[in-house]
């Protein structure tokens, strides 16, 4: 299951106006204003949300560069993992395509 089609050159962003975030310890409660659903993020998924909220990026950039945002070597955050993290946010409607 996916939220829909995707391509490497599509550009995505998260809009901080679309969600509320409250940290309780290492856990983040994220309320999605569009869906009305509360999600629980851990440190890694929260990092992806912050990364996408910081500005638009292509899917290609997201999967290859997310590890830098995390400050870990590339092999600790393989492309597949970054892609799955992105898909999880896409599935719950927290990312929007803004280009091309």
């Amino acid at each position: 299951m996916t939220a829909g089609p995707n391509k490497e050159d599509w550009v995505w962003v998260s809009n901080p106006d679309h969600y509320l975030c409250r940290q309780v310890g290492d856990t983040s409660f994220v309320y999605n204003r569009l869906s009305g659903t509360t999600h629980i993020f851990n440190l890694v998924s929260k990092a992806m949300l912050d990364y996408l909220s910081a500005g638009p990026k292509s899917l290609r950039t997201i999967v290859t560069e997310f590890h830098m945002f995390l400050e870990v070597p590339a092999e600790e955050c393989p492309r597949g993992v970054a892609r799955r993290l992105f898909d999880e946010l896409d599935d719950i409607g927290l990312v929007q395509r803004v280009g091309p």
Binding site: H39, N42, L43, V44, S45, D50, E71, V72, E76
Partner: protein
């Protein structure tokens, strides 16, 4: 990286541990499901009226015919000709195993004569057999949903399905009563005359059925009496044919089932 906690070594380490889990396929986002996401009250607030008398004929195999005809009854036996006519003209037919044991006739001593069911199903009468597994629970379309441990406002489910033994005597036959007019001659005519291989249930005109009355708090059906049988058939109809066609009460029942699914 704006967060100053990011500088914290332990923080990065905890993140790396989580990443390993991510690499192993563990989801990183959890979605909270509140216990009732769609309290569609209106869905439950429905009832329907049976506008004209409805007769339901049930055979020993749990097949059922629904129509508006009348069937003469005498001492628990039914006039074979009426039964045949009724079957010919039935508005809806349900396959073998549709109707739970408790609604079926006790036995079938007159046997034979009724195997004319070929009239409308190509002779084999076998097309019921589908999910007959549920013959005496309420045919599988409830979701059970269990947890009766805590929530007082859900109420518990200790009274499921088939505890209705005490009732069954009450509804047999019922209508058609007027004709115990002594034409015993019929009775004597053996094979073609009367049969005990069926049971007839009649729902009188203007009966209001509120399906929610037959549900317990945990979403299990507790179907009793002829109205219960009607709901059961409506549910079976819905299960098989969806919300189309004209079986009265379907949309009401469907709204309830949809509601239960969200629980």
């Amino acid at each position: 990286m704006s967060d100053k906690k990011d500088e914290d070594k332990g923080f990065i380490e905890r993140r790396r541990q989580l990443l390993k889990l991510g690499a192993a396929g563990v989801p990183m986002v959890l979605t909270l499901k509140a216990s009732a996401t769609q309290p569609v009250h209106s869905a439950l607030d429905c009832a329907f009226v049976i506008p004209e008398k409805v007769t339901i004929l049930v055979d020993v195999d749990g097949k059922a015919w629904v129509g508006d005809g009348s069937i003469q009854e005498k001492q628990g036996e039914y006039k074979t000709k009426d039964v045949d006519d009724f079957k010919q003209n039935a508005d809806y037919v349900f396959g073998e195993g549709t109707v739970p044991e408790r609604y079926r006739p006790d036995g079938c001593s007159t046997g034979g004569g009724d195997d004319d069911s070929g009239d409308d199903d190509g002779g084999h009468g076998g097309w019921g057999g589908d999910d007959s597994g549920g013959d005496d629970d309420d045919s599988g379309w409830h979701s059970g949903s269990g947890d009766d441990d805590d929530s007082d406002w859900r109420t518990s489910s200790s009274r499921r399905g088939d505890d209705d033994g005490g009732y069954s005597g009450g509804w047999r036959g019922g209508h058609g009563g007027g004709d115990d007019d002594g034409d015993d001659d019929d009775g004597g005519s053996g094979g073609g005359g009367w049969t005990d291989c069926y049971k007839v249930y009649v729902i009188s005109r203007n009966t209001t059925i509120t399906p929610a009355d037959y549900l317990n708090g945990s979403g299990s059906w507790n179907l009793q009496g002829e109205n219960g049988l009607y709901i059961l058939l409506a549910g079976k109809y819905l299960d098989t044919y969806g919300n189309d066609g004209g079986f009265p009460g379907i949309s009401c029942l469907l709204s309830i089932l949809n509601y239960l699914e969200t629980q």
